[in-house]
């Protein structure tokens, strides 16, 4: 009976690799005494907040002050940063995608989740305080509470322009959260809304789940940044404009050139562009420019609303 083989000779399916990656990260975090919570993905299914779907990455939330340290720890186990083209975001940098040459799944390490406007450390502390134990790959893993996982998934669905799949997931999330919304859960949700400063961003959803107002917890600038990011057509252009605006004078020109004319090396980091020839690179530049010009007026108008951030 020689059926025991290693991953080098049998491709590891993504459906298997992702829960195993969650389990691995949980174990590494415990070994190094770093506070880490598994979020999203298959945990949503286990919590009855999503129907079954294969996740291609393991999303984890790490205590913000140890984000860099934990990525270094994971690197010592072979998990290295994915080389992606630099694209500034209108929301603060929040995650790093790690890949391993022998694993088909990524690990997305988050220090906070976009949509939370509360202080990252305070938000994490609350999520940690209210954590629970889930099970993935038949071993226990630490995860955010059901309510917190639901909120994070809602923010994820809402943070970009919605697709039909997002709409379906949104409906599942709301239905799942409503199902278990007893007074204790409602209190937890209200506390998370306060500490996380998500009242304005999730006003409609919080009202629907029974949370009372007020809902005006964002500045006009913060709200504008969220809205620009939500409109994916504007998000890239808005991100560059925002980065140029926030940069020091000497960096502004360099950023502008990088936005308008990225190097060939940068362009080749885009999905499917690694082997692009000269004409492929030209086509990509023209498409980028056209998209930038098309979205420039609306992105500029939205950006104008961001003052004093």
């Amino acid at each position: 009976m020689t059926q025991q083989v290693d991953v080098a000779s049998v491709a590891l399916p993504v459906a298997v690799a992702t829960p195993l990656a969650y389990a691995l990260v949980d174990r590494i975090a415990a070994e190094h005494s770093v506070r880490v919570l598994a979020i999203k993905g298959p945990l949503l299914e286990k919590m009855g907040l999503r129907s079954q779907k294969i996740s291609s990455d393991a999303d984890i939330l790490v205590e913000p002050s140890r984000m860099s340290e934990f990525c270094t720890i994971l690197a010592s186990y072979g998990w290295k940063d994915r080389d992606v083209r630099f694209a500034p975001s209108i929301l603060d940098p929040h995650s790093r995608t790690l890949i391993h040459e022998e694993w088909p799944s990524d690990i997305d390490v988050h220090s906070y989740f976009p949509g939370f406007f509360g202080k990252a450390g305070e938000v994490f502390d609350l999520l940690w305080e209210t954590r629970t134990q889930g099970e993935l790959a038949n071993v226990p893993v630490l995860t955010a509470s059901r309510v917190a996982n639901g909120v994070i998934a809602l923010l994820h669905v809402l943070r970009n322009s919605s697709t039909a799949e997002d709409d379906a997931q949104y409906a599942e999330l709301i239905a799942g959260l409503k199902q278990d919304m007893d007074p204790v859960q409602l209190q937890s949700l209200g506390r998370l809304a306060d500490v996380g400063r998500i009242r304005r961003v999730l006003e409609k959803e919080l009202r629907e789940l029974g949370v009372d107002g007020p809902f005006d917890d964002l500045t006009a600038g913060e709200l504008a940044r969220w809205e620009i990011n939500r409109t994916s057509a504007q998000a890239t252009t808005g991100g560059w404009l925002y980065a140029i605006r926030m940069a020091e004078w000497r960096s502004k020109i360099r950023l502008f050139v990088r936005a308008v004319y990225p190097s060939n090396e940068e362009l080749r980091k885009d999905p499917g562009m690694a082997e692009a020839d000269r004409f492929g690179l030209i086509r990509s530049r023209v498409k980028r420019l056209a998209r930038g010009i098309r979205t420039l007026p609306s992105a500029s108008a939205s950006l104008f609303k961001i003052r004093g951030d």
Binding site: Q3, V5, L24, A137, N138
Partner: protein, 96 residues
Amino acid sequence: MDKWYRPSGIAFELCEEAVYVLDLRDLQGDLRPRALQGPAAAIWLTLGTVDSPCPELDLVKSVAEEYGMELHEIEGPALDFLRDLESAGLAERMHA
């Protein structure tokens, strides 16, 4: 009769006919998932837990039934495989 069980601290996932096993007890060891296929996967899944270990004979019978084989056909290879798993640290036994 000996009883067998899966040690705790080993993550595993079932996918189609295979079980993918990742030993998380030694982070300095080999952290590549290993695939157990066919009867090997069936044996792994039948092992039981430390609280509810599986008697050796039940284990062999269960796999023989699942694969429509005679007990004598599978008993030798199955017991050899159990010992392989034991030396790899992926199965433990309670001696009778």
